[in-house]
Protein backbone atom coordinates (compact mmCIF):
# COMPACT_ATOMS: atom_id res chain seq x y z
CA UNK A 1 0.00 0.00 0.00
CA UNK A 2 1.18 3.52 -0.66
CA UNK A 3 1.89 5.91 2.19
CA UNK A 4 1.24 9.63 2.02
CA UNK A 5 2.50 11.99 4.71
CA UNK A 6 0.81 15.36 4.33
CA UNK A 7 2.23 18.46 6.09
CA UNK A 8 2.99 16.63 9.33
CA UNK A 9 4.44 18.54 12.29
CA UNK A 10 5.42 17.17 15.68
CA UNK A 11 6.96 18.87 18.69
CA UNK A 12 8.26 17.46 21.95
CA UNK A 13 8.12 20.44 24.31
CA UNK A 14 10.32 23.08 22.65
CA UNK A 15 12.00 20.60 20.33
CA UNK A 16 10.63 20.53 16.79
CA UNK A 17 10.98 16.92 15.63
CA UNK A 18 9.04 17.32 12.36
CA UNK A 19 8.35 20.64 10.68
CA UNK A 20 5.64 20.50 7.99
CA UNK A 21 6.91 17.28 6.40
CA UNK A 22 5.27 15.89 3.26
CA UNK A 23 6.26 12.65 1.60
CA UNK A 24 4.93 9.99 -0.76
CA UNK A 25 5.98 6.36 -0.64
CA UNK A 26 4.97 4.26 -3.65
CA UNK A 27 3.16 0.95 -3.23
CA UNK A 28 5.64 -1.90 -3.03
CA UNK A 29 8.73 0.31 -2.81
CA UNK A 30 11.68 0.12 -0.44
CA UNK A 31 12.43 3.51 1.09
CA UNK A 32 15.11 4.66 3.52
CA UNK A 33 14.69 7.58 5.91
CA UNK A 34 18.26 8.81 6.26
CA UNK A 35 19.70 11.52 8.46
CA UNK A 36 21.71 12.38 11.55
CA UNK A 37 20.30 11.43 14.96
CA UNK A 38 17.72 13.91 16.20
CA UNK A 39 16.82 14.73 12.59
CA UNK A 40 13.25 13.46 12.92
CA UNK A 41 13.43 10.22 10.95
CA UNK A 42 12.37 7.91 13.81
CA UNK A 43 9.57 10.30 14.77
CA UNK A 44 8.30 10.26 11.17
CA UNK A 45 8.31 6.46 11.16
CA UNK A 46 6.48 6.33 14.51
CA UNK A 47 3.90 8.84 13.23
CA UNK A 48 3.26 6.56 10.22
CA UNK A 49 2.86 3.59 12.60
CA UNK A 50 0.54 5.49 14.92
CA UNK A 51 2.93 5.21 17.87
CA UNK A 52 3.13 9.02 17.92
CA UNK A 53 0.26 11.39 17.23
CA UNK A 54 1.23 14.33 14.95
CA UNK A 55 0.40 17.88 16.15
CA UNK A 56 -0.68 18.80 12.63
CA UNK A 57 -1.03 17.13 9.25
CA UNK A 58 -2.38 13.81 7.96
CA UNK A 59 -1.14 10.29 7.28
CA UNK A 60 -2.77 8.25 4.50
CA UNK A 61 -2.18 4.53 4.14
CA UNK A 62 -3.49 2.94 0.95
CA UNK A 63 -5.28 6.19 0.17
CA UNK A 64 -7.34 6.17 3.38
CA UNK A 65 -6.84 8.71 6.17
CA UNK A 66 -5.18 6.87 9.06
CA UNK A 67 -4.22 9.93 11.13
CA UNK A 68 -6.57 9.07 13.98
CA UNK A 69 -6.47 5.28 13.66
CA UNK A 70 -4.73 3.51 16.58
CA UNK A 71 -1.66 1.40 15.67
CA UNK A 72 -3.76 -1.77 16.09
CA UNK A 73 -5.89 -0.88 13.07
CA UNK A 74 -3.28 0.54 10.70
CA UNK A 75 -2.08 -2.79 9.36
CA UNK A 76 1.57 -1.90 9.88
CA UNK A 77 4.40 -4.22 10.84
CA UNK A 78 6.94 -2.46 13.06
CA UNK A 79 10.48 -3.62 13.82
CA UNK A 80 12.33 -1.92 16.68
CA UNK A 81 16.05 -1.27 16.95
CA UNK A 82 16.30 -3.27 20.16
CA UNK A 83 14.01 -6.05 18.85
CA UNK A 84 11.24 -5.62 21.47
CA UNK A 85 11.13 -9.41 21.72
CA UNK A 86 8.54 -10.85 24.13
CA UNK A 87 11.11 -12.36 26.48
CA UNK A 88 8.73 -14.76 28.24
CA UNK A 89 7.60 -16.37 24.97
CA UNK A 90 9.36 -18.85 22.71
CA UNK A 91 10.32 -17.84 19.19
CA UNK A 92 7.22 -19.66 17.91
CA UNK A 93 4.90 -17.81 20.32
CA UNK A 94 6.57 -14.50 19.46
CA UNK A 95 6.03 -14.96 15.73
CA UNK A 96 2.49 -16.28 16.29
CA UNK A 97 1.50 -13.36 18.56
CA UNK A 98 -0.42 -11.28 16.01
CA UNK A 99 -2.25 -14.35 14.69
CA UNK A 100 -3.09 -15.55 18.22
CA UNK A 101 -4.55 -12.11 18.98
CA UNK A 102 -6.67 -12.46 15.82
CA UNK A 103 -7.87 -15.87 17.08
CA UNK A 104 -6.92 -17.75 13.92
CA UNK A 105 -7.24 -21.55 13.97
CA UNK A 106 -4.23 -23.29 15.47
CA UNK A 107 -3.40 -25.29 12.34
CA UNK A 108 -3.30 -22.13 10.26
CA UNK A 109 -1.08 -20.36 12.82
CA UNK A 110 1.35 -23.28 12.97
CA UNK A 111 1.61 -23.46 9.18
CA UNK A 112 2.15 -19.71 8.83
CA UNK A 113 4.75 -19.59 11.62
CA UNK A 114 6.68 -22.49 10.07
CA UNK A 115 6.65 -20.74 6.71
CA UNK A 116 7.94 -17.50 8.25
CA UNK A 117 10.63 -19.22 10.29
CA UNK A 118 11.88 -20.77 7.05
CA UNK A 119 11.82 -17.35 5.40
CA UNK A 120 14.00 -15.82 8.14
CA UNK A 121 16.20 -18.94 8.48
CA UNK A 122 15.18 -19.75 12.06
CA UNK A 123 13.61 -23.18 11.41
CA UNK A 124 15.52 -24.92 14.18
CA UNK A 125 14.90 -22.22 16.80
CA UNK A 126 11.11 -22.35 17.24
CA UNK A 127 11.25 -23.56 20.85
CA UNK A 128 14.05 -21.31 22.05
CA UNK A 129 13.58 -18.16 24.07
CA UNK A 130 14.81 -14.77 22.80
CA UNK A 131 17.56 -14.76 25.44
CA UNK A 132 19.03 -17.85 23.75
CA UNK A 133 19.37 -16.11 20.37
CA UNK A 134 22.06 -13.80 18.98
CA UNK A 135 21.19 -10.20 18.11
CA UNK A 136 20.86 -10.95 14.42
CA UNK A 137 18.61 -13.93 15.09
CA UNK A 138 16.45 -11.87 17.43
CA UNK A 139 16.02 -9.19 14.80
CA UNK A 140 15.04 -11.78 12.18
CA UNK A 141 12.52 -13.19 14.66
CA UNK A 142 11.12 -9.68 15.17
CA UNK A 143 10.85 -9.32 11.39
CA UNK A 144 9.00 -12.63 11.07
CA UNK A 145 6.67 -11.53 13.88
CA UNK A 146 5.91 -8.28 12.04
CA UNK A 147 5.34 -10.10 8.73
CA UNK A 148 3.08 -12.77 10.27
CA UNK A 149 -0.01 -10.58 10.22
CA UNK A 150 0.58 -9.69 6.54
CA UNK A 151 0.99 -5.96 7.15
CA UNK A 152 0.11 -3.46 4.44
CA UNK A 153 3.36 -1.64 5.18
CA UNK A 154 6.52 -2.74 6.97
CA UNK A 155 8.31 -0.13 9.09
CA UNK A 156 11.78 -0.72 10.51
CA UNK A 157 13.39 1.66 13.01
CA UNK A 158 17.19 1.39 12.77
CA UNK A 159 16.74 -2.37 12.40
CA UNK A 160 20.44 -3.19 12.24
CA UNK A 161 21.70 -0.40 14.49
CA UNK A 162 22.41 -2.64 17.49
CA UNK A 163 24.24 -5.34 15.51
CA UNK A 164 27.93 -5.71 14.77
CA UNK A 165 29.32 -4.77 11.37
CA UNK A 166 29.46 -8.24 9.79
CA UNK A 167 25.93 -9.22 10.81
CA UNK A 168 24.71 -5.82 9.70
CA UNK A 169 26.09 -6.31 6.20
CA UNK A 170 24.54 -9.77 5.96
CA UNK A 171 21.13 -8.60 7.09
CA UNK A 172 21.14 -5.65 4.67
CA UNK A 173 21.57 -7.94 1.67
CA UNK A 174 19.02 -10.26 3.17
CA UNK A 175 16.42 -7.49 3.70
CA UNK A 176 16.86 -6.52 0.05
CA UNK A 177 16.18 -10.10 -1.07
CA UNK A 178 13.29 -10.43 1.35
CA UNK A 179 11.68 -7.35 -0.16
CA UNK A 180 12.05 -8.86 -3.63
CA UNK A 181 10.20 -11.95 -2.37
CA UNK A 182 7.50 -10.38 -0.19
CA UNK A 183 6.93 -7.07 -2.04
CA UNK A 184 5.46 -5.28 0.95
CA UNK A 185 5.84 -1.49 1.01
CA UNK A 186 8.84 -1.02 3.28
CA UNK A 187 10.24 2.04 5.03
CA UNK A 188 13.35 1.82 7.19
CA UNK A 189 15.21 4.36 9.27
CA UNK A 190 19.00 4.53 9.25
CA UNK A 191 21.76 7.01 9.98
CA UNK A 192 24.21 5.02 7.82
CA UNK A 193 24.34 6.39 4.26
CA UNK A 194 26.03 3.27 2.94
CA UNK A 195 23.19 1.13 4.32
CA UNK A 196 20.59 3.43 2.75
CA UNK A 197 22.40 3.42 -0.63
CA UNK A 198 22.82 -0.34 -0.64
CA UNK A 199 19.30 -1.35 0.37
CA UNK A 200 16.83 1.36 -0.68
CA UNK A 201 15.26 2.26 -4.01
CA UNK A 202 14.31 5.69 -2.70
CA UNK A 203 16.13 7.70 -0.04
CA UNK A 204 14.57 10.51 2.01
CA UNK A 205 17.18 12.72 3.67
CA UNK A 206 15.85 14.29 6.89
CA UNK A 207 17.67 16.91 8.90
CA UNK A 208 16.38 19.18 11.70
CA UNK A 209 12.81 18.00 11.14
CA UNK A 210 12.84 18.95 7.45
CA UNK A 211 13.19 16.83 4.29
CA UNK A 212 16.34 17.97 2.48
CA UNK A 213 15.91 15.77 -0.60
CA UNK A 214 14.08 12.71 -1.90
CA UNK A 215 15.52 10.61 -4.68
CA UNK A 216 17.16 7.42 -5.85
CA UNK A 217 20.57 6.63 -4.33
CA UNK A 218 22.22 7.66 -7.59
CA UNK A 219 20.30 10.95 -7.79
CA UNK A 220 21.35 11.93 -4.31
CA UNK A 221 24.95 11.02 -4.91
CA UNK A 222 25.30 12.69 -8.28
CA UNK A 223 22.86 15.56 -7.96
CA UNK A 224 22.66 16.50 -4.28
CA UNK A 225 20.20 19.35 -3.72
CA UNK A 226 22.44 21.15 -1.27
CA UNK A 227 25.70 21.03 0.64
CA UNK A 228 24.15 19.08 3.54
CA UNK A 229 23.01 16.23 1.29
CA UNK A 230 26.31 16.28 -0.60
CA UNK A 231 28.34 15.97 2.59
CA UNK A 232 26.00 13.46 4.23
CA UNK A 233 25.61 11.11 1.30
CA UNK A 234 29.26 10.53 0.43
CA UNK A 235 32.87 11.74 0.71
CA UNK A 236 33.71 15.29 -0.40
CA UNK A 237 36.91 17.04 -1.44
CA UNK A 238 37.26 20.85 -1.37
CA UNK A 239 38.65 22.42 -4.55
CA UNK A 240 38.81 26.20 -4.61
CA UNK A 241 35.30 27.43 -3.85
CA UNK A 242 33.67 24.10 -4.78
CA UNK A 243 32.94 20.76 -3.17
CA UNK A 244 33.44 17.70 -5.36
CA UNK A 245 33.40 13.94 -4.95
CA UNK A 246 37.05 12.85 -4.52
CA UNK A 247 36.79 10.66 -7.64
CA UNK A 248 35.46 13.58 -9.66
CA UNK A 249 38.76 15.44 -9.24
CA UNK A 250 41.32 14.82 -11.95
CA UNK A 251 45.06 15.04 -11.37
CA UNK A 252 47.07 16.44 -14.32
CA UNK A 253 50.76 17.18 -14.61
CA UNK A 254 50.48 20.38 -16.59
CA UNK A 255 48.84 23.71 -15.69
CA UNK A 256 45.69 24.42 -17.73
CA UNK A 257 43.05 27.10 -17.36
CA UNK A 258 40.79 26.49 -14.37
CA UNK A 259 43.13 23.99 -12.75
CA UNK A 260 44.38 24.50 -9.18
CA UNK A 261 48.00 23.92 -8.20
CA UNK A 262 48.63 21.41 -5.38
CA UNK A 263 51.45 19.50 -3.69
CA UNK A 264 51.14 15.78 -2.95
CA UNK A 265 51.52 14.98 0.78
CA UNK A 266 50.88 11.27 0.69
CA UNK A 267 49.93 8.52 -1.74
CA UNK A 268 47.98 5.70 -0.07
CA UNK A 269 47.62 2.43 -1.98
CA UNK A 270 44.42 0.58 -1.04
CA UNK A 271 44.56 -2.09 -3.73
CA UNK A 272 42.53 -1.04 -6.74
CA UNK A 273 41.85 2.35 -5.19
CA UNK A 274 44.61 4.87 -4.60
CA UNK A 275 44.00 7.82 -2.28
CA UNK A 276 46.11 10.94 -2.81
CA UNK A 277 46.29 13.57 -0.08
CA UNK A 278 47.29 17.05 -1.21
CA UNK A 279 47.90 20.59 0.05
CA UNK A 280 46.43 23.46 -1.94
CA UNK A 281 48.22 26.78 -2.37
CA UNK A 282 45.96 28.61 0.11
CA UNK A 283 46.88 26.20 2.92
CA UNK A 284 43.74 24.01 2.62
CA UNK A 285 44.13 20.30 2.16
CA UNK A 286 42.07 17.96 0.00
CA UNK A 287 42.13 14.43 -1.30
CA UNK A 288 41.56 12.65 -4.57
CA UNK A 289 40.41 9.11 -5.23
CA UNK A 290 41.94 7.49 -8.28
CA UNK A 291 42.82 4.05 -9.60
CA UNK A 292 46.09 2.16 -9.37
CA UNK A 293 46.47 2.28 -13.17
CA UNK A 294 46.04 6.06 -13.31
CA UNK A 295 48.42 6.66 -10.39
CA UNK A 296 51.13 4.56 -12.04
CA UNK A 297 50.60 6.25 -15.36
CA UNK A 298 51.17 9.66 -13.76
CA UNK A 299 54.01 8.29 -11.56
CA UNK A 300 52.55 10.16 -8.56
CA UNK A 301 54.91 10.64 -5.63
CA UNK A 302 55.22 12.70 -2.46
CA UNK A 303 56.23 16.38 -2.75
CA UNK A 304 55.35 16.36 -6.45
CA UNK A 305 53.55 19.46 -7.78
CA UNK A 306 50.39 18.68 -9.75
CA UNK A 307 47.23 20.46 -10.96
CA UNK A 308 43.69 19.53 -10.04
CA UNK A 309 40.51 20.14 -12.01
CA UNK A 310 36.92 18.86 -11.91
CA UNK A 311 36.79 15.67 -13.98
CA UNK A 312 33.52 16.33 -15.79
CA UNK A 313 35.02 19.43 -17.44
CA UNK A 314 37.47 17.19 -19.29
CA UNK A 315 34.65 16.21 -21.59
CA UNK A 316 34.21 19.83 -22.61
CA UNK A 317 37.73 20.02 -24.09
CA UNK A 318 38.31 18.95 -27.64
CA UNK A 319 40.11 15.64 -28.04
CA UNK A 320 43.77 16.07 -29.06
CA UNK A 321 44.23 15.06 -32.65
Amino acid sequence: MSIVVDSVSKRFGDFVALDDVSLEVRDGSLTALLGPSGGGKSTLLRVIAGLEQPDAGRVLIGGADATFEPPQRRGVGFVFQHYAAFKHMTVRKNVAFGLTIRKRPKAEIDARVDELLRLVHLEGFANRYPAQLSGGQRQRMALARALAVQPRVLLLDEPFGALDATVRKELRAWLRRLHDEVHVTTVFVTHDQEEAMEVAEQIVVLNDGVIEQVGSPRDLYERPANEFVMRFIGPVAPLGERWLRPHDVEIILEPVRGAVEATIDRVIHLGFEVRVELSLGDGDSTWVQTTRGRAEELELDEDQTVWLRPAEERAMEPEPA
Binding site: G77, F80, F86, I101
Partner: protein, 265 residues
Protein backbone atom coordinates in the same frame (compact mmCIF):
# COMPACT_ATOMS: atom_id res chain seq x y z
CA UNK B 1 41.72 -13.67 53.03
CA UNK B 2 41.58 -12.65 56.68
CA UNK B 3 39.48 -9.59 55.80
CA UNK B 4 37.00 -11.77 54.02
CA UNK B 5 36.72 -14.07 57.04
CA UNK B 6 36.18 -11.09 59.34
CA UNK B 7 33.47 -9.75 57.03
CA UNK B 8 31.73 -13.10 56.95
CA UNK B 9 31.96 -13.45 60.73
CA UNK B 10 30.56 -9.97 61.27
CA UNK B 11 27.66 -10.47 58.87
CA UNK B 12 26.72 -13.89 60.22
CA UNK B 13 27.22 -12.83 63.86
CA UNK B 14 25.00 -9.82 63.36
CA UNK B 15 22.28 -11.97 61.83
CA UNK B 16 22.60 -14.62 64.55
CA UNK B 17 22.34 -12.12 67.41
CA UNK B 18 19.46 -10.16 65.92
CA UNK B 19 17.46 -12.88 64.20
CA UNK B 20 18.74 -16.41 64.58
CA UNK B 21 19.04 -16.74 68.34
CA UNK B 22 15.71 -15.06 69.25
CA UNK B 23 13.78 -17.11 66.67
CA UNK B 24 15.51 -20.29 67.76
CA UNK B 25 14.60 -19.55 71.39
CA UNK B 26 10.94 -19.19 70.39
CA UNK B 27 11.15 -22.71 68.98
CA UNK B 28 12.77 -24.01 72.14
CA UNK B 29 10.32 -22.32 74.47
CA UNK B 30 7.28 -23.33 72.46
CA UNK B 31 8.25 -26.96 72.75
CA UNK B 32 9.55 -26.92 76.37
CA UNK B 33 6.45 -28.71 77.69
CA UNK B 34 6.42 -31.13 74.79
CA UNK B 35 4.86 -31.19 71.38
CA UNK B 36 1.48 -32.35 72.75
CA UNK B 37 1.14 -29.34 75.06
CA UNK B 38 2.10 -26.95 72.27
CA UNK B 39 -0.37 -28.59 69.89
CA UNK B 40 -3.11 -28.35 72.49
CA UNK B 41 -2.33 -24.65 73.05
CA UNK B 42 -2.74 -23.74 69.41
CA UNK B 43 -5.88 -25.81 68.82
CA UNK B 44 -8.12 -24.29 71.46
CA UNK B 45 -11.24 -22.63 69.98
CA UNK B 46 -9.78 -19.17 70.71
CA UNK B 47 -6.48 -20.04 69.03
CA UNK B 48 -8.19 -21.57 66.02
CA UNK B 49 -10.38 -18.50 65.61
CA UNK B 50 -7.35 -16.25 65.92
CA UNK B 51 -5.55 -18.07 63.12
CA UNK B 52 -8.71 -18.12 61.05
CA UNK B 53 -9.05 -14.34 61.46
CA UNK B 54 -5.41 -13.80 60.47
CA UNK B 55 -6.03 -15.85 57.34
CA UNK B 56 -9.08 -13.72 56.52
CA UNK B 57 -6.90 -10.59 56.82
CA UNK B 58 -4.36 -12.09 54.44
CA UNK B 59 -7.01 -13.41 52.04
CA UNK B 60 -8.60 -9.98 51.63
CA UNK B 61 -5.66 -7.62 52.01
CA UNK B 62 -3.20 -9.44 49.73
CA UNK B 63 -5.35 -9.73 46.56
CA UNK B 64 -6.69 -6.19 46.90
CA UNK B 65 -3.26 -4.70 47.52
CA UNK B 66 -1.84 -6.73 44.63
CA UNK B 67 -4.41 -5.43 42.14
CA UNK B 68 -4.19 -1.90 43.46
CA UNK B 69 -0.39 -2.09 43.66
CA UNK B 70 0.02 -3.11 40.01
CA UNK B 71 -2.43 -0.41 38.82
CA UNK B 72 -0.72 2.17 41.00
CA UNK B 73 2.74 1.22 39.70
CA UNK B 74 1.45 1.42 36.10
CA UNK B 75 0.05 4.89 36.77
CA UNK B 76 3.27 6.10 38.39
CA UNK B 77 5.60 4.70 35.70
CA UNK B 78 3.55 4.93 32.50
CA UNK B 79 1.34 7.99 32.93
CA UNK B 80 2.08 11.68 33.13
CA UNK B 81 -0.38 13.51 35.34
CA UNK B 82 -0.50 16.21 37.97
CA UNK B 83 0.06 14.74 41.43
CA UNK B 84 2.06 11.78 40.18
CA UNK B 85 4.97 12.67 42.46
CA UNK B 86 2.54 13.08 45.35
CA UNK B 87 1.03 9.64 44.70
CA UNK B 88 4.52 8.16 44.55
CA UNK B 89 5.35 9.70 47.94
CA UNK B 90 1.97 8.76 49.48
CA UNK B 91 2.56 5.08 48.72
CA UNK B 92 5.44 5.10 51.22
CA UNK B 93 3.33 6.56 54.02
CA UNK B 94 2.62 3.17 55.67
CA UNK B 95 6.40 2.63 55.91
CA UNK B 96 6.88 5.97 57.62
CA UNK B 97 3.86 6.16 59.95
CA UNK B 98 3.80 4.00 63.08
CA UNK B 99 1.10 1.29 62.94
CA UNK B 100 -0.36 2.57 66.22
CA UNK B 101 -0.92 5.97 64.60
CA UNK B 102 -2.56 4.21 61.63
CA UNK B 103 -4.92 2.46 64.04
CA UNK B 104 -5.80 5.71 65.82
CA UNK B 105 -6.39 7.50 62.50
CA UNK B 106 -8.82 4.74 61.47
CA UNK B 107 -10.67 5.32 64.76
CA UNK B 108 -10.98 9.00 63.81
CA UNK B 109 -12.55 8.09 60.47
CA UNK B 110 -14.72 5.11 61.34
CA UNK B 111 -15.21 5.38 65.12
CA UNK B 112 -18.89 4.85 66.02
CA UNK B 113 -19.33 7.91 68.29
CA UNK B 114 -17.08 10.62 66.91
CA UNK B 115 -15.62 9.12 63.72
CA UNK B 116 -15.85 11.09 60.49
CA UNK B 117 -18.15 8.59 58.72
CA UNK B 118 -18.58 6.11 61.59
CA UNK B 119 -21.94 7.40 62.76
CA UNK B 120 -23.38 7.37 59.25
CA UNK B 121 -22.11 3.82 58.63
CA UNK B 122 -23.56 2.70 61.96
CA UNK B 123 -27.01 3.87 60.88
CA UNK B 124 -26.73 1.48 57.96
CA UNK B 125 -25.77 -1.27 60.38
CA UNK B 126 -22.14 -1.39 59.33
CA UNK B 127 -19.69 -1.61 62.19
CA UNK B 128 -16.08 -1.01 61.14
CA UNK B 129 -14.25 -0.42 64.40
CA UNK B 130 -14.04 -3.36 66.87
CA UNK B 131 -14.93 -5.74 64.06
CA UNK B 132 -13.42 -7.46 61.03
CA UNK B 133 -13.80 -4.66 58.42
CA UNK B 134 -11.71 -2.25 60.49
CA UNK B 135 -9.02 -4.86 61.06
CA UNK B 136 -8.91 -5.61 57.34
CA UNK B 137 -8.60 -1.88 56.59
CA UNK B 138 -5.74 -1.58 59.08
CA UNK B 139 -3.95 -4.58 57.56
CA UNK B 140 -4.41 -3.22 54.03
CA UNK B 141 -3.10 0.20 55.03
CA UNK B 142 0.00 -1.30 56.62
CA UNK B 143 0.82 -3.72 53.77
CA UNK B 144 0.01 -1.38 50.88
CA UNK B 145 3.48 -0.30 49.63
CA UNK B 146 5.11 -3.69 48.96
CA UNK B 147 3.63 -4.61 45.57
CA UNK B 148 3.94 -1.03 44.28
CA UNK B 149 7.56 -0.78 45.36
CA UNK B 150 8.50 -4.15 43.86
CA UNK B 151 6.71 -3.58 40.55
CA UNK B 152 7.84 0.00 39.79
CA UNK B 153 11.53 -0.81 39.10
CA UNK B 154 10.59 -3.84 36.97
CA UNK B 155 8.18 -1.76 34.89
CA UNK B 156 10.86 0.89 34.39
CA UNK B 157 13.35 -1.77 33.31
CA UNK B 158 11.15 -3.48 30.71
CA UNK B 159 10.30 -0.16 29.05
CA UNK B 160 7.44 0.36 26.62
CA UNK B 161 8.78 -1.19 23.42
CA UNK B 162 7.27 -4.64 24.01
CA UNK B 163 3.89 -3.00 24.65
CA UNK B 164 4.21 -0.90 21.49
CA UNK B 165 5.17 -3.99 19.51
CA UNK B 166 2.05 -5.75 20.83
CA UNK B 167 -0.06 -2.73 19.78
CA UNK B 168 1.29 -2.78 16.21
CA UNK B 169 0.53 -6.51 16.10
CA UNK B 170 -3.11 -5.77 16.86
CA UNK B 171 -3.34 -6.30 20.62
CA UNK B 172 -5.69 -4.00 22.53
CA UNK B 173 -4.98 -2.56 25.98
CA UNK B 174 -6.26 -5.55 27.97
CA UNK B 175 -4.62 -8.12 25.68
CA UNK B 176 -1.33 -6.24 25.88
CA UNK B 177 -1.55 -6.09 29.67
CA UNK B 178 -2.38 -9.76 30.23
CA UNK B 179 -0.20 -11.22 27.48
CA UNK B 180 2.85 -8.94 27.56
CA UNK B 181 3.08 -6.57 30.56
CA UNK B 182 1.91 -8.88 33.33
CA UNK B 183 4.14 -11.84 32.31
CA UNK B 184 7.09 -9.44 32.07
CA UNK B 185 6.58 -8.10 35.61
CA UNK B 186 5.44 -11.37 37.20
CA UNK B 187 8.50 -11.89 39.41
CA UNK B 188 8.19 -8.37 40.78
CA UNK B 189 4.50 -9.00 41.51
CA UNK B 190 5.26 -12.38 43.12
CA UNK B 191 7.92 -10.87 45.38
CA UNK B 192 5.53 -8.07 46.33
CA UNK B 193 2.80 -10.60 47.14
CA UNK B 194 5.17 -12.55 49.39
CA UNK B 195 6.22 -9.44 51.29
CA UNK B 196 2.60 -8.27 51.57
CA UNK B 197 1.58 -11.66 52.91
CA UNK B 198 4.39 -11.72 55.47
CA UNK B 199 3.54 -8.20 56.61
CA UNK B 200 -0.21 -8.94 56.83
CA UNK B 201 0.48 -12.10 58.86
CA UNK B 202 2.56 -10.25 61.41
CA UNK B 203 0.64 -6.98 61.75
CA UNK B 204 0.04 -6.11 65.38
CA UNK B 205 -0.07 -2.41 66.25
CA UNK B 206 -2.73 -0.99 63.93
CA UNK B 207 -4.97 -4.04 64.21
CA UNK B 208 -4.60 -3.98 67.99
CA UNK B 209 -5.99 -0.43 68.18
CA UNK B 210 -9.07 -1.04 66.01
CA UNK B 211 -9.87 -4.59 67.10
CA UNK B 212 -11.04 -4.13 70.66
CA UNK B 213 -9.24 -7.44 71.37
CA UNK B 214 -12.35 -9.53 72.01
CA UNK B 215 -11.00 -13.03 72.52
CA UNK B 216 -12.55 -15.48 70.07
CA UNK B 217 -14.12 -12.62 68.07
CA UNK B 218 -11.70 -9.88 67.06
CA UNK B 219 -8.43 -11.47 68.08
CA UNK B 220 -5.90 -12.22 65.32
CA UNK B 221 -2.95 -14.56 65.81
CA UNK B 222 -0.58 -11.79 66.88
CA UNK B 223 -3.15 -10.43 69.33
CA UNK B 224 -3.67 -13.97 70.63
CA UNK B 225 0.07 -14.26 71.32
CA UNK B 226 0.04 -11.04 73.31
CA UNK B 227 -3.10 -12.07 75.19
CA UNK B 228 -1.62 -15.45 76.19
CA UNK B 229 1.64 -13.83 77.24
CA UNK B 230 -0.13 -11.27 79.45
CA UNK B 231 -1.94 -14.12 81.17
CA UNK B 232 1.32 -15.96 81.92
CA UNK B 233 0.40 -18.75 79.48
CA UNK B 234 3.92 -19.03 78.10
CA UNK B 235 3.33 -22.29 76.25
CA UNK B 236 0.32 -20.81 74.47
CA UNK B 237 2.16 -17.60 73.56
CA UNK B 238 5.28 -19.34 72.25
CA UNK B 239 3.40 -22.10 70.48
CA UNK B 240 1.29 -19.55 68.58
CA UNK B 241 4.45 -17.55 67.84
CA UNK B 242 6.00 -20.69 66.46
CA UNK B 243 3.06 -21.20 64.08
CA UNK B 244 3.30 -17.58 62.93
CA UNK B 245 7.04 -17.92 62.40
CA UNK B 246 6.54 -21.12 60.42
CA UNK B 247 3.90 -19.45 58.23
CA UNK B 248 6.27 -16.56 57.52
CA UNK B 249 9.13 -18.96 56.79
CA UNK B 250 6.92 -20.94 54.41
CA UNK B 251 6.04 -17.71 52.58
CA UNK B 252 9.70 -16.75 52.20
CA UNK B 253 10.57 -20.27 51.11
CA UNK B 254 7.79 -20.18 48.52
CA UNK B 255 9.30 -17.00 47.14
CA UNK B 256 12.72 -18.58 46.82
CA UNK B 257 11.23 -21.57 45.04
CA UNK B 258 9.33 -19.51 42.47
CA UNK B 259 12.12 -16.98 41.93
CA UNK B 260 13.73 -17.47 38.49
CA UNK B 261 17.23 -18.91 38.58
CA UNK B 262 18.93 -15.87 37.04
CA UNK B 263 17.49 -13.59 39.73
CA UNK B 264 19.07 -15.53 42.58
CA UNK B 265 22.11 -13.93 44.18
Amino acid sequence: MRNRLILRFLALGYLALLLGIPVALVFVNALQDGVAAAWEAVTTPEAQHAFYLTMVMVAVAVPLNTIFGVLCALAIVRQRFRGRALLNAMVDLPFAVSPVVVGLSLLLVYGRRDGWVGEWLAEWGIQVIFSTPGMILATMFISLPFVVREVIPVLREIGTEQEQAAATLGAGGFQTFFRVTLPAIRWGVAYGVVLTTARALGEFGAVSVVSGKLSGRTETATLFVENRFQRFDETGAYAASLVLALLALATLLAMNLIKPKEAQG
